[in-house]
């Protein structure tokens, strides 16, 4: 964040955007010069350093750009008061002396006072002069400087520039690929209000309580503070309304990861962080199970009426999703509200609550106990979770299978692939398989991964036979090619259904031979 007078923007036809520093060789050169200036000026006064920076302003760069870089470097510097005497104490003695002796109006009078105070403090007159205002900002000495690469400086600058522009924002909309829990936590902590909505993806609009009455920049600072958490993601888009105070106009501002990700510095990567040991410990144990469920930390928020719920975990398997929240301290009222919120959405949600951290008697909750609550002490137990997941999976699968059964479909294709069909109607492959194998449509043969029309299967059988009789033998790759040309994918299951066997010569499928066992052969001939 920069002082507002250093903000550099362009505006055109209702749009506004910062004049970002491109990572051009020219800009990198300036950044490098300034960084080196700071390194070189360690041990020197701040005003000497700033004078040097001032000279860079005359090199044809915008002074706001040069000063902006300098402001960022000041924050990586330590300036110290470099004298042995306490200047405040020294001044008090001097001023008290003038109070007694009168204000000096000639150099001689002044020297007399300075010398008397110097000898009182066992200093030389020069030391008194040196220390008199050594604590003023411009007199401080650069003691430490933590350098960075010119590239990082420019990227830092661009982030600061964006935040400085956002100080003037009245509202901010964004979408991001993750990091939700931290973003929403920040929204709450900063006293802002969000609204979640769909616009293609999942979007969030943020402003504050008083935004209802008029456009206000009051929340601009808070909105600017959200920016790092949003751009920490690999993918994001940020839009904002900027109230440009000089013209009192509302301007649109938009940046996105695809175009601007490369010139903005992301905050230090903090891999997956866990709110508690309990959560971390659960994730480790669950993943060691290899249960077929994919565990995700901080999944995308789930809209629930006007609110969103950001679960701690999601479990995913073949399109079935279950969420889980881990709750530390809680009251019956808290859980009730939580459940109330959950009722508004149709998702499977597990709540793991710490038995030991209950603020009220458990008995009070017994009535509500069928709310998918798993109690734990110290660590979240796996068996009840797995049981719930399995039930949820079976339940969803069954519901979907019912749905598939109820579909008024007549198949016309000669091959129906379960996976493709499931994807088309938005259910799990498993439910399609269950429904279709139970009661296969007329004229189709059931294979493990697809349905194939009887005629089609016979046609394939004939082609294979022809090929076999022509060449004397049939290799697996050739057979697979023929089957795929006919529109069926599942070659090994098709071969199996036709009664063929595969004779392996080593491990390579290239040399494997497709054969017709003797028994079947005779069966066919007869």
């Amino acid at each position: 964040m920069l002082p507002s007078e250093l903000l550099l923007v362009r505006r055109r036809s209702g749009r506004i955007w910062p004049r970002y520093a491109k990572l051009s060789s020219e800009n990198l050169e300036v950044a490098n010069l300034i960084i080196q200036a700071y390194s070189r000026h360690i041990g020197e006064k701040k005003n000497v350093l700033k004078e040097f920076v001032g000279e860079l302003e005359n090199m044809g760069y915008d002074y706001r750009f040069v000063r902006g870089l300098s402001v960022l470097l000041d924050r990586r510097s330590v300036f110290k008061c470099n004298v042995k005497v306490d200047p405040v104490d020294l001044r008090r003695r001097l001023f008290q002396a003038t109070g007694r002796l009168g204000l000096p109006t000639t150099p001689e009078q002044r020297t007399r006072i300075v010398e008397s105070v110097a000898s009182e403090m066992k200093l030389t007159a020069e030391m008194v002069e040196e220390a008199l205002y050594a604590d003023l900002d411009s007199e401080l000495v650069l003691a430490e400087f933590n350098p960075l690469s010119p590239q990082s400086l420019l990227k830092d600058y661009n982030v600061s520039l964006t935040q400085t522009l956002l100080f003037n924002s009245t509202e901010l909309d964004f979408t991001a690929s993750g990091n939700w829990q931290r973003i929403f936590y920040a929204v709450k902590r900063l006293g802002l209000i969000y609204e979640a909505y769909r616009r293609g993806g999942f979007w969030v609009k943020i402003d504050g309580p008083a935004s209802l009455f008029k456009l206000t920049r009051r929340y601009g600072t808070a909105l600017a503070k959200l920016l790092p958490a949003v751009i920490a993601n690999p993918g994001w888009t940020v839009e904002a309304k900027i109230l440009w105070k000089y013209t009192n106009e509302i301007c649109d501002f938009k940046i996105e990861s695809g175009r601007h990700g490369g010139i903005l510095r992301k905050p230090e990567p903090s891999a997956v962080s866990y709110d508690s040991v309990v959560e971390q410990n659960f994730a480790v144990r669950f993943e060691a199970l290899d249960s077929g469920w994919v565990l995700r930390r901080e999944p995308e928020p789930v809209p629930a009426g006007r609110f969103v719920i950001i679960p701690d975990f999601s479990f995913e398997r073949e399109g079935v999703r279950v969420f889980m929240e881990v709750v530390g301290f809680w009251t019956a009222e808290y859980l009730r509200r939580k459940v109330e919120k959950l009722k508004k959405i149709e998702v499977n949600m597990l709540i793991a609550v710490d038995e030991a951290l209950a603020c009220e008697k458990l008995a009070k909750l017994e009535k509500h106990a069928k709310l998918n609550i798993v109690y734990y002490r110290n660590k979240v137990p796996l068996p009840p979770i797995l049981r719930y997941l399995e039930e949820a999976f079976q339940h969803v699968k069954e519901k979907q299978a019912q749905f598939v059964r109820s579909l008024p479909v007549t198949f016309v294709e000669s091959v129906v692939n379960y996976e493709e069909f499931a994807a088309r109607i938005g259910v799990s492959t498993e439910s399609v398989r269950t429904a279709l194998t139970e009661k296969p449509p007329q004229g189709y043969v059931v294979l493990p991964n697809s349905l194939v029309k009887k005629d089609k299967l016979e046609e394939i059988g004939k082609t294979l036979e022809q090929q076999m009789s022509q060449t004397g033998r049939l290799l697996l790759p050739e057979a697979a090619r023929i089957i795929e040309t006919e529109g069926a994918k599942d070659s090994s299951n098709v071969l199996k259904a036709l009664g063929y066997k595969i004779k392996w010569q080593g491990i390579s499928p290239e040399t494997a031979e497709v054969i017709m066992p003797e028994s079947k052969q005779t069966e066919k001939d007869s």
Binding site: Y63, V88, R91, R92, L94, F95, Q96, A97, T98, G99, G102, L103, P104, T105, T106, R110, I113, V114, L132, Y133, D135, L136, D137, G191, I193, Y194, E195, G208, P209, A210, L212, F213, T216, R217, R218, K245, Y246, R306
Partner: protein, 453 residues
Amino acid sequence: MFVIRLRFDKGTLLLRGEVGTPYGKWDPRVGCYRAKAMHYRDVLTYLEESGVPYRDEVPDFPPLEAMKCSVELRSYQRKGLDRWRRAGLRGFVVLPTAAGKTYIALKAISLLRAQTLIVVPTLDLVDQWRKRVADYLNVEAGAVGGGENVVKMVTVSTYDSAYLKAEVLGNRFMFLVFDEVHHLASPSYMQIAEMYVAPYRLGLTATYERADGRHALLPRLVGDLVHTMEVEELAGKHLSSYDHEKIYVELTPEEQRVYDREMSVFRRYLRVKGIVLKSVEDFHRFIMRTGRDRNARKALLARNRALKIALNSEAKLDTLAKMLEAYGNKKILIFTLHNDLVYRISRRFLVPAVTYQTPREERRKTLGNFRSGEYKAVVTSQVLDEGVDVPDASVGFVLSGTGSTREYIQRLGRLLRKVEGKRAKLVEIVSKETVEVGISRRRRRKRKTGKGE
């Protein structure tokens, strides 16, 4: 049974229930009615009058404490207070600096005996008001700002903190006192008025007009102007009489040479571009231009260098030396525009300096020592323009300043607090034949017609 629950939510009112009020607005984000906190009293009145049952969960007031008020008001102060009461315990009073506006506020607090937030521009004034509250109301005041955060029955805060913390302070007071109330009309500070529920409001100032015209907002924010008086009406009787003197000095030859050179760069640019700078607005437009036009910026920088030479001329310091010799036995305040000059004067004459850079503790001690007479003089840039109280300072030197009438009146006001037999003197030291002559003339225009800044 209640239908509406009224709650304070981060500087606004939330009305949970099925009924709207004329002050509420439906907030789809949270699914209930929301109103500005400043309409708290109106909403309550509306609900009472329409017989809607409600529950008021807004107030979070600190406990009341016993007060003992020892303020005796002068006649014109009493008149101001009475008019404010008749105006419905709302409004603002305009009185010259040193006419004792503080006492009107203290009396009002003791009359209302309500939780009060006093909002002031600077940390110095926070200290000063707390001392006054302790001395005249006999209670210890809380403070918000400058690292402190204690809310008590009477609390003093800076405008900055009152603005930044409106979300958490807005429902803790019944009465707001705004010292130097003209600040309240700025775009951000006006939110203090909007985000606090306090129905009772009192504003105080010496000059309420603002160059940007925003003082027109004050009636909506605190209430109407209820009482006003001019320096001339009080001078001699309630305020010290004073003399004004202007001393012109010549720039040193070297200064004059550089001044002329820089000024001509500036004037040439204006001439070439056909720009005329007559009003504040003209000048703002020119400043905007410097962001786009490199030559405009060069011209501006040249003008600033020239002005700096005129304002900070070495010749002024030599004149000041003579003046200090002549008035050395009086209590002296020296005013400048720039900090550089403050420190040059402080070094050369060993006069204690007070600027925004002075550590708070040192500032407190310096002003204490100045009051007690241990220090005879103080040199300052802008920070002492408002409010800080030094009863017997009697000579002021203005070495440089802006053309603002407000600044001038406030600087003058530092010298006018009535002490028997005192006659104050204000001396302006101005660089001859420079733009400063015009600046000096502007600041002494008649207040009624003159616009500040």
